[in-house]
Each structure stands twice: as structure tokens, then as C-alpha cells.
Amino acid sequence: MSKETQNKINAAKKKATEKQKNILEMLKSHGAKIYDDLDSGKFPKFSIPSRSVGNIVYDKKLRQYILGNSVAVRSSRNTSQLRSFTQLMWLAFFANKLTNEKKSSTLRDIYYSSQAFAIEFEDQSESDNIIVDLEAVTSKPREDFHIFPEERSSIFGDLTIEYTIPGYEGKTMNLSNHPDGYSIGPSLTTAELVDTSAEIVIAIEKGGLFTRFVEEQIDKKFKSIIINTGGQAPRSTRTLLKRLHDEMKLPVIVLTDGDVYGEHIAMVIKSGSANAAHLRELTVPDAKWVGVWATDIEKYKLPTIPMTESDIKRCYDLQKDPRYQDGIWKKELDVFLRLKRKAELEAFSKYGLTNITDKYLPQKLELAKSL
């Protein structure tokens, strides 16, 4: 290991410890405020950015949705908020423990863990909601508190990482060692990105195509890291994409099915979702959607299937979204609406299984440079 690499690792370690320390400090200060309120005979309360539809606005400069200025006060005096107040306090307490002990847990875990205390969640959606509250109060994604969604997203390619999770600290791994790819879970998300020979990140919507890309050695042929987003990219995957872009200076391109949902998967990677408007640091504003475009359907004479009513409705909804007002986003959306047909990535198989990797992908990579 070169000295430079060692320095880099040390710097990263320091950064991770710093981050953890920050999180813990923040939780502590929130806790202390509530402690003081109680101790002085006051009902504790805190404010939280409102996540109501009216308070979600698109920030053109940041190129993502953010929360507006409206703030809701959660007070423990209000009995209709008391339960969720307590739940949030428990979650902060629990997240504090997780962060402290460097343990991770899933959303499902949170739902069950609560039952050990008197703070039962009625269902997971209630507990998920409280987790979003915690994110909103702290402006930090849940992953920072070691809370992860179920894993369904994976990564493959020449990328060396170093774990930071307990028991694996300092251990490194190259992500091209296992052809099925590596799931993007807590250990990977928190790992330090050490080194890569890749020059681009290709995010692809579907597991099937991901496998094909690995088989066809796209990682080598195009010096790329391949990521399977498994449909709409999970937060951890989006975080990882951002880090690959920001820390490793890799461009990100997104390849999806040729339909309105695919277009939006790319958009969320690029500029986030309204659901996560309370969070920053989840977007890759420079990410590029390279296909499958609506215009590709005609250009490549792809076999299509008709759009469903909900597809069409989705098109109309997105037409109102400020991010779809210009460029290819608007153009492709309009074409989808005109065609009223869609094509999957697998449609290229009509022209041979490797058609997509041999013909389509190179053309798109070339095109991406000019986008």
C-alpha cells in the first residue's frame, strides 16, 4: 500500500469518526434541551420543518426538492402529539445507541425494537414515519443513524473500499471479486472509498441487465462501475452514487426501461424525490439519463407494449413537475405521451442478447459526453 493510499485511508477514518462524533453531539444537544425543559417543569417541545405538500418546493439552484420555511411545533403538551413525540424521543435514543455502538438496523428492526419499550408502533408505516421525522429534525439521512432499508441494490466493478463497521475496520475489499455483485448495505454505505480504476458509473434499473453487464464485462470494456438500482434507487444507493461522483470524481449515467417510470428513476437519482425533500446530499445533479428514451423506441425499432392508464396519468403528473419543463426530460416525456407505448431494456434482445451491450450502450456512452 502506497503512502498516499495510507494517508487517504487515515484521512477517511478521521472523517468517519468525525461524522459519528457530530451525529452524537447533535443528538446529545437535542436530548439536553428536552431534559432541561422537563427539569424546569415545562412541557418539552421542538420544531420540525413541515413536510406537508404545500411546503415542498423545488430549488432551482440546488436542482432538487427542498422543504420551505414553514415549521411545525411538536409539543408534548399536545396529547395528540404526545405519543409520536415519545416515539421520536425513543428513536433518537435508539439511534444514539446504534451510532455509539456502530451497529446497524433496518426499518423493520426499528418497528420491532420499539416493542421492547412501551412505545409500540402500530405498524411499520408509523415507525417509518417517525424515522422520517428524525431525519427532518436533524436534516440527516437515516443511514447516518445506522438505520437502513432492506437491501435490494447491488454494485460491481473495480472499486476498493475499506470497512468502518465494527469488526471489519481497516479491512479492504475490491468489488470486482464476486460476479453477482455486492449488496449495497450498511457496511458498504459506511465504508471508505479507497481506490478505483473506473472512469464512469453505470446505474441500471434492472437486476437481469446488471447480470448481463457483468457477464459481458462492461466494467472492463468501458472502465465502469455497474450499479443495480433495483427499480427506484434506495437512499443508500443514491448516497453511494453521490459519493462515487463527489469523492471519486466519477460521472454517473443512468439506464432505465423506456417508460415514464424509468425516466423518473433517473430523475430521482439526479435531483431527489419530494418524499426526501427534507434531506440534501442524496442527489447527483450531474447524473445523466441516457436511455431508454422514447425517441429510442422509434430509432431502434424496439418491440413495445401499450402504456397503461396509470402510465399515462403519470406522464401528465410529471408534466407539471418543474424539472420536466425543458431539455430531454420534457422532450422524451412528450414523445412517450405521443406514442402511448413503452419498451423495456430487455426489448433489445429482439436483436440478440448482446445487442444492448454491443451496440446500444457504446452509442449512449458516446452520446453522454455531449449531454
Binding site: K28, I34, Y35, P44, T79, F85, N96
Partner: protein
Amino acid sequence: MSSIKEKFNQISPSEFFYRNRDLAGFSTPTRSLYTAVREFVENGLDACDQKEILPEIHLSIKAVEPDKPDPKPYILTVKDNGPGIETKHVPLAFGTVLYGSKFGLKQARGMFGLGATMAILYGQITTNKPVSVKSSTDGKISDEFELLLDIQKNKPVILKHKTKEVSKRGLSVSICLEGDYSKAGAKIRDYVYQTSLITPYASITFEDPKDEKFHYSRIIKTMPKPPTIIRPHPYGIDVETIRRMMVESQFEIPVMDDAMMEKVRKDLGLSKKNLSFTAIMAKAKTKWKNLSRQVRVVVALMSFLKMDFEKLNKIRIEDVDITNKKLTYWDFGDSQSKTVDMDSESPYYRQLANTTQGETLTAFLTKRFQRVGPTTAIKFAEFAGFKPEKRLGTMTNQELVKLSDALQKFGDFMTPDPSCLAPLGEEPLEKGMKKFFNPDFLAVIQRSASAYSGFPFIVEMGIAYGGEINTRGIKVYRYANRIPLLYDEGSDVVLKVVNDIDWSRYKAKGDPPLVIVSHICSTRIPYKTVGKENVADRQEIERELKLSIQFLARKLSIFMNKRGQAEAAKKRANLYAKYIPLIAQFCTELSGKKKEPNYKKILEEEMPATNE
């Protein structure tokens, strides 16, 4: 004509009631037993009420042969601590139909004491056993009678009479009658229960055939003010009643016999001396104020006849023709009819006119009716199209009908005088209900008196919620003149009014544990049927009931609101007690403190006051 009249007279009142006993509630053994209980208990309570004695009623029903199946003979005994009945009245009171002291216009539970005699009659026909009456008016000596009723002659037959030393005043009546307690029992127990509720100043004990005792002790020691007897109100008076009242106001010309003469002499203070006509008249003038009507009439006649007592003895008055101002008499001495003129200006003429033609319309109205003054009377006369000085006795049949109609239509009569009514009063009602139901909420109201068709009435009502009331839904106890109404609930006006209320508007949702006690007092309750179990929906009564219930329901709603607030406060406190300690625990760990914050202060502040 006379033969028909005789035939009618041959049916005695006893016989009449015997033939129509269904009407009086003695149709089946079940109904009869229940009715008999009611009649005797109500008589006992009425007797005590009239003498303002706090009643103690003891009721017992025992089977003669307990093992026999129903219906079978029962011995029904009702004992009270009332004034008792004087020895000489006992046989007549219990051995005659239509003998009683409860006449006159005032509120009482029963009328005329008719029902009790009916019960005795019924007992006698079904078991052929005499009624046993024990009465003590002084609390020392008791007269004990065994009586049978001679139905055809409507006369008592005394089988036994003895006296005994006792220590308590009161009356005890015991009859043997055919009854069905297995069927009537529930109603009788209900009756005793409900009677005790509306008579909280009474102590009532009921011993049933299975030796079970139901005792309702006295809840309050003050009795409601007794009603007074008053004159009728013009509304609700029909032609027949006017006729009867006219008879009362009109007098026959007295027969001038020796006894009459003697009375006149005595009243004028002339017992010894035989004075001349002029002297008599002078004497009469000075004594006029103190003279009785009869004597005045004689003096008036004398003034026109210009005779002294000796001459007067020899004539007979044949006709007093007020209209033509002629006085005709038969002279025994001359054996012929003679006529003298009467001076219509003379005060004596007015006296005679009064006597033979009755009172003037204004006098009739002001003297015979309640709350009619001279001004109103004159106004009325104008309204009815009569001269105020028109005499009742001169009215034709048609005119009487016109008068009766006008009495109903005239709008300026004052409302009836309620002093003849005896409502229970808010406090006794409230105390009774409190003792009976021990509710969480209780409110009562006594409306001021109102009237329908000339009969005054007062509505009293109470409402109780929660506590020991375990019924689901609304239970209504209906009373009329302190008698519980147990049958025919469905068609009663009280039920109608209760059901018309949207209780959810008053915060009593679902099937609230609610008791309503409704008491209507009136000199005449407008019953729907002869059974006297349901009150007809007279507009005026319905209105009073509605206003009462709305008033009470509003109070209930205030209570429910407060209670809702208290419950919410309690719920809130519970929530705080559950969650605040957890928040304290979590924030202690979060902030890395060793000791939990002192959150007790918050919890104490939020605890609802316990004495709410």
C-alpha cells in the same frame, strides 16, 4: 212518566256497579287484584294527606290456601295511620256504594272513594266473605266491623261489631277476593315501588304471598301543601253544569207554615210580642244584614201583602210573577185568589226577583266561578250578548247554550287557580329520586300552573342519569295526581314527548342510562281511556311537558359536557403519566445525564381535581 222513573230507581248504585265492574278495573282476577291494591293504598294515602299525617301504609297479600293454583282467593289487607273513620260512618262508608267525603273540586288520587267499595263488592261476589274493617280515630279504642253489602238495597249488613283497646290510630281494611298473584305480582310490586318514589314522605311496606317484604322507608319528613277546594273556572263548563249551578243559586218561595213563622219571629227577635205590620217591617230593616235568605223572602212578601203574622197565617202564596210585578195568593178566609201589585222600585222586589229568577249574570259569574271580577263579568256579558243584569232563571234553553258557548270562547278570563292542586314539589321529588336511583346527575323542575279547558294543571318532572341506574335506554315513570300509570305506556303523551327529543343533541348518545319521572297534577287528568292509564295529548299539557323536558335536557347536556371535559382531563393526565416518564428516560440517556429530570411537577399540574 212516573212508572218509568220508578223503574230506574229500582237499580241501586251497587247493582249498577256490579253489572259494570269491568269499567272500574275489575275484569279479570289479575287486574282485579291489582286494582283492589291500588284503591286501598290510594285511599289510605289520601286520608293521611287530607289530615296532614305522614303516611305509614302496610299492605299485605296472603293466599287463603297457598298450595292451590292461581286464580285463587287472597286476603288483601291495607293498614294506614290516617285519621280513621268515626264509628257511625264505618258501615255506610264500606257497605254502600257512592258514600264518601271526597267531593268538591280539588286534586286527590281517587274520586269519591268509589273504587274501594267496588273492591269490597268484587271480593264479596267472588268469595262470599265479608269485609273486615278496623278503625280507630283516637288511637285508644278501635271499632272492628265485619260487613256485607246488600247489593240490591245498597245497604250495609253488619255481621259483627266489637271494640278493642289499641295503641295506634288509623284504619285497616281487609277483604277476601279472587285474584291471580302469579300474574299480577310484578305489576303490584312495580306499583308499590313507583308509588313510594312519588310519595317520599310516606313509609310503605308490602308483604307478598311468599312472605317477601318490600319496605320503602320515609325519605323526607315534610308533606306537600294540601290542596284547597275552589270554585270552577268558566272554561270547561257545559250547559248541564250551568243548570246545576243555577239550582244552587235559586230558591223556592218558602212555605209559610207555623215552623217558618216561628223562625221569622225568632230571627227578628219578636218571640214574645205580637207586633203590627209596620213595626215588623221597621224591625226587619234594622236586622236585615243578619237575616237569612228565607227570612228575607218572607219579609219581602209581607212588604207587598202588608200583613202581620196573624193575617199571614190565613193565606197561601200562589204565584210570584216578577215580570208582571204581580203577587197572587189564596185567601183561606175568603176562599178566593187575590192579586197585589209589586213596586219594582222597592228593594223587596229585587229580593224576590233574586230568589225566583236566580242571580244576575254578573253576580252568577263573580260568585260561582273562580277569578271572575265584576269588570270581567260585565265585559263577558257584552261579549256574550246578554245584559249584565239578565237573570239566570229567565234564560231559555237556547240562551243557556249560548251562555255556555260564550264561556268557552271568551278570551279574557284569568287562568285557573292552581291552589286546588297539590304537586309534590321540587325538593321532595329530587330527594325521592336521589334515594331511589343514586344517580350521577339529577335535575327537577316544577312548571308554573297552566290550564286546559278550564282545568288547571301543573307538570313536575325529574331527570336522573348514570349512577345506580343500570337500564340501557330511557326509563320513564309516569304519574298523574301521584298515581303511577303502569299500563298502556305506548300511547301516552309523556312518552310521545320523550321520544320526540333528540337526546344526542343533549350529549346523551346511544342508550343512555336515563330515568325520567313525570308528574301531572290536575283537577281532571285527561285520560285517553276509562282504564285511566294514559294521558291524552292535549296541546296545553304537551307543551308544558315539552318545556319541562327541554329544560331538564339542557341541564343534562351541561352536565355531560362538564363530565366530558373531566373525562378528557383525566385521559390527558393518564397519557402524560404514561409518556412523560419515558421521554424523561430517553432524554436522560441522550443527553448523557446521570439523574432523570424532575418531571413530577408537570404531572401534578395536570392531575384533574379529585373533587369534581
